[in-house]
């Protein structure tokens, strides 16, 4: 599981984490992505990066399905804290409580925080 806790654009972590995720799809692993804290900002619709001249990788999350990566978990508390709802996100996800997310984290073999 990749645990995404960082906002996009301000640092490169979100983009380079996504690159790892795309590669991991080739290894037939049960890959899941968790988005919590500022990580939920990665999935927000309507990101336009032209004026800051930075690659807009937010549409790439919609390609994940084609890579057979379909387990995208978003923490409800993190969304609420930031005034966001599921409808603000660019891709279909499973919104879940922190408690439920913790259960899934605990079940992983490898957790990569990024």
């Amino acid at each position: 599981m990749f645990v995404n806790r960082k906002a996009p654009h301000g640092t490169i972590y979100a983009l380079e984490a996504l690159e790892v995720v795309l590669i991991s799809a080739a290894f037939d692993q049960d890959v899941s992505l968790a988005f919590l804290d500022d990580g939920v900002y990665q999935l927000v619709k309507g990101q336009h990066t032209k004026a800051i001249d930075v690659k807009n990788f937010s549409p790439t999350y919609r390609a994940l399905e084609g890579y057979d990566i379909e387990k995208l978990y978003v923490e409800r508390e993190s969304l609420e804290q930031r005034g966001l709802t599921e409808g603000d996100l660019i891709v279909p996800v499973a919104v879940m409580s922190a408690e439920e997310l913790v259960r899934r984290m605990e079940a992983q073999d490898v957790v990569i925080g990024c």
């Binding site: 690159e19 795309l22 590669i23 799809a25 080739a26 549409p59 790439t60 919609r62 390609a63 084609g66």
Partner: protein, 110 residues
């Protein structure tokens, strides 16, 4: 490095990928294909255009496996297989077709 098409010069990297993706045109594509020993047919264009649409939508060049599957979905299973795609693009449907499509090199280097 650079290529010259119709009196205009376009910058490429050492592997022949366009440096500025906005430089792409059908003429440039034809030129790149030629230098790779490929004569573009409708079947080639179908894949190249598919790649460009995929890139526009998702902002990445797909991995071969993903490309094959997606083409199968859109153009039928007789085209969505690696045999067909490798016949069109002997050096790899992802790498070579992306180059002709004016896209960045796929980040699929496992």
């Amino acid at each position: 490095m650079a290529i010259e098409v119709a009196d205009k010069t376009y910058e490429t990297d050492e592997e022949g990928y366009l440096v500025n993706l906005s430089d792409w045109s059908e003429e440039v594509a034809n030129h790149i294909a030629e230098s790779e020993g490929i004569t573009m047919t409708d079947n080639h264009w179908e894949v190249v255009n598919f790649l460009r649409e995929y890139y526009n939508e998702f902002q990445i060049a797909p991995a071969v496996r993903v490309l094959t599957k997606a083409i199968g979905k859109k153009l039928g299973s007789d085209k969505g297989n690696s045999k067909y795609l490798y016949e069109l693009f002997p050096y790899g449907p992802a790498k070579q077709a992306c180059k002709i499509a004016g896209l960045p090199k796929p980040t699929g280097c496992v």
